[in-house]
């Protein structure tokens, strides 16, 4: 028998009996950040490849979502801070060792670029609403001319943004569920996959839909592989990692993780996408929405379950 109890003192709000410092805003932000990273990555890639005329949804219509997602995500992050008025302290220093510092700086660069990107398509996106001021029209022309440079910058930045949402969690060695090197790539791939799903959802041409169905299918297969890798790594790990894995496999998060993330969020949509590519008629909205929900649930499961895992007590 081993029984441990606090005889005095420890009854800290949000920490005892179980850690609840990070709530839904963090999960929502990690999802929106990954989604924006995916959308901006594909917009940049298609532009660099010179295919922006063939895939208008990717570079134009879906790209509108990324500044909105980033803004909402940043608002969620700001809402989660407890010393809000001091948020500017993030930008008085660069801390190489802190993933959150990296993320704050990348967001500071990528968020304005995502707005400028949409601005560069303004007259094509909103042909009926003319810009009132002449200088805005000139500004738009400059942006349109330099769009390719924005695309070159967006590709590496969106990859950093996507991978940082995972590394943010995996850098905490005190939380055994998070502390595995797979989480960065897993969140990046999941973010790219949700981005592709949103493009499928909004795409008007069959060609664009099929290309992104194929991309999404490949990403889902990679994501499943990474999840298997993650679970195998934890199964072969130390005791705390075994306990962490048991939360997902046979523990309180099993239904959420296997039911909503793996089956409904990955395997079912992948099967539907495959049958659609082969030629059967399936409304593409179903797999796309399932992928998006699966991505959101993955963030919630990882954030909530990770905070339960610990070394002591």
């Amino acid at each position: 028998m081993q029984e441990e109890l606090f005889t005095s003192g420890r009854n800290l709000p949000h920490i005892d009996p179980s850690l609840e410092i990070w709530h839904w805003p963090i999960s929502v932000y990690l999802f929106l950040g990954g989604l924006a990273a995916g959308l901006l990555f594909f917009a940049g890639l298609i532009t660099v490849l010179g295919k922006d005329k063939e895939y208008p949804t990717t570079v134009k219509f879906a790209a509108i979502v990324s500044p909105i997602a980033l803004t909402l995500g940043l608002l969620a992050l700001f809402y989660d801070l407890t010393h809000k008025l001091y948020f500017w302290r993030l930008y008085t220093t660069i801390r190489i060792e802190s993933p959150m510092s990296w993320g704050a700086w990348v967001l500071l660069i990528i968020t304005p670029i995502s707005f400028l990107w949409v601005m560069s398509y303004y007259s094509e996106l909103f042909p009926k609403w003319k810009l009132k001021f002449e200088f805005l029209n000139t500004f738009e022309k400059i942006l349109t001319k330099n769009r390719i440079y924005m695309a070159y910058v967006l590709i590496p930045l969106s990859v950093i943004l996507g991978i940082y949402t995972g590394i943010l969690l995996s850098a905490f060695n005190a939380r055994p569920l998070w502390n595995n090197a797979i989480l960065g790539p897993l969140f990046l791939v999941s973010g790219l996959s949700t981005g592709a799903a949103l493009i499928i959802l909004l795409a008007k041409s069959k060609k664009e839909r099929h290309l992104f169905s194929k991309i999404d299918l490949a990403l889902v297969v990679i994501e499943l592989g990474l999840i298997v890798h993650m679970l195998m790594g934890m199964a072969a790990g130390s005791e705390v990692q075994l306990e962490a894995m048991q939360l997902l496999v046979g523990g309180e998060f099993t239904v959420m993780f296997f039911g909503f993330v793996i089956i409904l969020g990955l395997i079912v949509p992948a099967t539907l996408e495959l049958t659609e590519i082969v030629g059967y008629k399936i409304p593409v909205a179903i797999p796309a929405i399932l992928i998006l929900i699966g991505g959101l649930v993955l963030r919630f499961v990882m954030v909530e379950a990770g905070q339960i895992t610990r070394y002591l007590y």
Binding site: T7, P13, H14, T82, R175, L312
Partner: protein, 177 residues
């Protein structure tokens, strides 16, 4: 200079005087604490063992909270003490997540707070409040770099352990067992 604390679990009676002394000295808000007592019972009757420990921030040599802080509010002094500068802290909670000892908490004013090894008392040549009030004198405080200090000699001669050394943080609160 590397400050460390040594606590004799064989002498501790779990009276919680250290907890109250800390709350009084550091004006810790009601309902919060920077140190606490744990009581661990292990084994089965009749070979049962009871261990009482006063726990707090371990002022780790390899402090994960300092590493993950995005603003540098969490920092380590040359003497090994880990501190939080309140008006550099944004309250993101990353350090709380990163601490294997759950030693940090969000102060009602928003910033993150924790044990300071009574840094302000050390500057005046006094001992930390918890150490100075301990009625069984089971707590020792001193410099690990000095081989003749009380803490160094105790660690040389007595069997001891640290909490969750497998977390790789190199904690500096030692427990004599």
């Amino acid at each position: 200079m590397r400050y460390a604390m040594v606590i004799d679990t064989l002498k501790c009676v779990g009276c919680s005087d250290c907890v109250v002394a800390c709350q009084t000295e550091n004006d810790v808000p009601i309902g919060y604490c920077r140190d606490w007592i744990t009581e661990t019972v292990s084994g089965a009757y009749p070979t049962i063992e009871l261990e009482l420990k006063s726990e707090r921030c371990n002022h780790c040599d390899n402090a994960p909270c300092v590493r993950c802080c995005p603003t540098g509010a969490s920092h380590q002094l040359d003497n090994g003490i880990v501190l939080v500068t309140g008006d550099e802290c944004i309250g993101c909670g990353a350090c709380i997540e990163s601490c294997p000892y759950d030693a940090r908490f969000q102060h009602p004013d928003g910033y993150v707070d924790k044990c300071t090894f009574c840094h302000h008392r050390l500057e005046k040549g006094q001992l930390p409040a918890c150490v100075s009030v301990c009625p069984t004198k089971c707590m020792y405080f001193g410099d690990l770099d000095n081989p003749n200090s009380e803490v160094s000699r105790l660690l040389k001669n007595r069997k001891h352990k640290t909490l969750a050394p497998e977390a790789g943080t190199k904690p500096k609160v030692y427990y004599l067992i």
